[in-house]
Symmetry: C2
């Protein structure tokens, strides 16, 4: 049952988390699922970050194997696959939240300052809202994209 034992670097929880999430793309896909309301391959592809399709396919497969996302065939269009976060996936909200706050605080980003200050002040409310949306399958964007060529 336990597939391949997959050699771990250590038993440290941080290290184990990073073996799944420690790359340039996985957490961005999760972000798109979490706060942008994306559900399809196409949307990730056009998210503005410029991920290659082979990498995207690979990451989605790995995230599914890791139990972070699920896929199901579209009801009305069988070509379309709908990706969705699992509970394990939505539990990454605090990680993404802290990454966002840290980046906005210490780097130059496109995020408006006032919004960051507000998010920091209302951390719990924000995270509750993220979870509520997930539970209710509400896929209206909670945060906007910040791509250089934001086609909106």
């Amino acid at each position: 049952m336990p597939g391949k034992p997959k050699r771990r670097r250590s038993g440290c929880p941080v290290s184990i988390s990073l073996e799944i999430l420690g790359d340039r793309w996985s957490l961005l896909i999760i972000r798109d699922l979490m706060v942008r309301g994306f559900t399809t391959f196409k949307q990730f592809q056009e998210s503005g970050e410029g991920i290659a399709t082979n990498i995207l396919a690979d990451r989605l497969r790995k995230l599914e194997k890791a139990g972070i996302v699920t896929v199901e065939v579209g009801k009305t269009d069988a070509r379309r696959l709908n990706y969705r976060l699992t509970e394990k996936g939505i539990d990454l909200a605090p990680v993404l939240f802290e990454l966002l706050v840290w980046g906005a605080w210490h780097q130059e980003t496109a995020a408006p300052w006032a919004q960051i200050v507000s998010m920091r002040r209302n951390r719990e409310a924000f995270l509750a809202e993220v979870r509520r949306r997930w539970q209710e399958r509400d896929s209206t964007p909670l945060l906007p994209g910040f791509s250089r060529a934001a086609k909106r």
Copy 2:
């Protein structure tokens, strides 16, 4: 002054954070600096995760350029370089905290369950303690290592 403009994927704070931290090693080094009290190249090298020395050197350089760590020559031994987190670096504590909690919760790790429960309950106190230790240059380990061959 702004060196090379370094093409960014987008202006999203999460994306920008991941351009610095999104790999398998950077956050582990930061973890070692933050809660294990490591300060030298040698210590990182022997941390049990098995990082190669060329990669370690590269990451330390990048983290320094990113303003996350500083280096200074040892007072008593001029061979020894002491690495230390900057304030920007210690501000990553919440990110690491959430990664640790998520990993311990959803994956099989070596972290004792009771300790995780306790950490979750006392998040603020824990983070305050991390910061206190940093300010006071207290480098006694706050959390243990979990390497398979933990030589302690």
